[in-house]
Amino acid sequence: MKRNPLFLSSVSFSLLILLWAIITYFGDFSEQIFPNPFLVLASGVELFNDGTLLKHVVASLYRVTIGFYLAVILGIPLGIVLGRKYLVRQLINPIIQFLRPISPLAWIPLAMLWFGIGDQPAIFLIFLSSFFPLVVATTMAVNRINPVYFHVAANFNFSQQEVIKKIIIPAILPEVLTALRLTIAIAWLVVVAAEMIAVQSGLGYLILDARNALRMDIVMVGMIVIGMIGVLLDLIMLRLAKNDAIGWNKAS
């Protein structure tokens, strides 16, 4: 018998919440340390009703969208150039490989110094977190394109523009979509961290602010919403990756 996967995951979540309820009921924890699910739910509803939650969600999503978008429109073209031009790659790649392992969080002091307080430093950090993985993934994908396709392009007198539009982009699309999916998850991780430092809004700020007020119920509301939006973003990217434009790749 094949169950609906949605059914199975609701079973596992129900069990998790049940476990949580049991632990908090018998565990004799203070509500300030480990609030029970009902309290968290009540706080969540309250935050939702007075609009606070929505405001923070929108703030976070806005930063992720802008930062991620910038990383995409700059990172993918750069990756294509690096993948195609041997000399440029030799020149630029070492720098990218050097900057890539530096956690975006390490940039926080500089980001705040350069951009002050507000959306900009957060967007900058998200951009950094997405930019390097996208450049590297695109470069590798371009590098892996079967040279036969470039021969075909030359044989049929493709212009430079046509090579990009009809060979490179379709060829790397499957890998780039996978990279986008991984990268948006990183961006989402980073936005929360960035908001704990550089701004006065967003889910990261909500959590930090609640911690300062010793409201662990609100902290947990923030965590749960972050998790849910993370899953949602992943589902959206997954849908994108099932795009018709890469249907040809099914065979491999």
């Binding site: 030359a154 049929f156 007198n157 379709p170 434009a245 890469i246 040809w248 790749n249 065979a251």
Partner: protein, 264 residues
Amino acid sequence: MGHILIQDLAKRYQNRRQHSRKNDIHAHEKIITVLEDVNLEFQDGEMVCILGPSGCGKSSLLRIIAGFDRATSGKILIDGQPILKPSSDYIFVFQHNGLLPWMTVWQNVELGLRHLDNEAEKEETIQEYISMVELDGFESYYPHQLSGGMQRRAELARAIVVNPELLIMDEPFSGLDFLTHLKMREEVVNMHQFINKTIVIVTHDIDDALVMADRVVVMGNASTKNILLNRKLAFGHPRNIEKIEGLRELRDELYLMLGVNYAV
């Protein structure tokens, strides 16, 4: 048109990534000569079959003819003109996966006609060539949805739809099952009689050469002699090897030349 003159052609590869070990006697041989003193002339409209052991430089020669690669020295003239870059006048049919996998059969065949302004004429021509290779009904299929033989036929249609002066095919039948191989061979012969353009085919199958070729070229290694045989075959089509004495004799000769004692 489609006359090919190859003069004193040489091709050397510089092997950049040599993992040289001290006791490796080949470590110092960074330059390998693949083609040396190659002189050939193919007449306009000839079907030329090139045979030769693996690694003797057949694909290298074809790549140079197609303009994908440069010769180290010597020259190739097509209709008196040196080849400077690839062009849709000389279409290369690839050994594996030459179709663009993200394009349908129709879109692949359309590649060579994409600059045509007259949509109706373009569609009619594409359909005509798809029908010629018997792929009616598969226009919107992607390459991975086709069998190996169908993929080759689609690529053939894409190649001849541009009416090239020269068709260059590198082992076009490899990887096909026996019957598909024979049918494809027949189709190429028919197509050749129809378009009447020069075709240069590399094959590992001696029978291919005997059945198809107007000219057989046997290649050997550059270290000994690159061109072992260059002979015109004046037999009509279709040919039955068993029934033509000259072909049977040539077959024995070719086997011997390629190092197989099949005949004796």
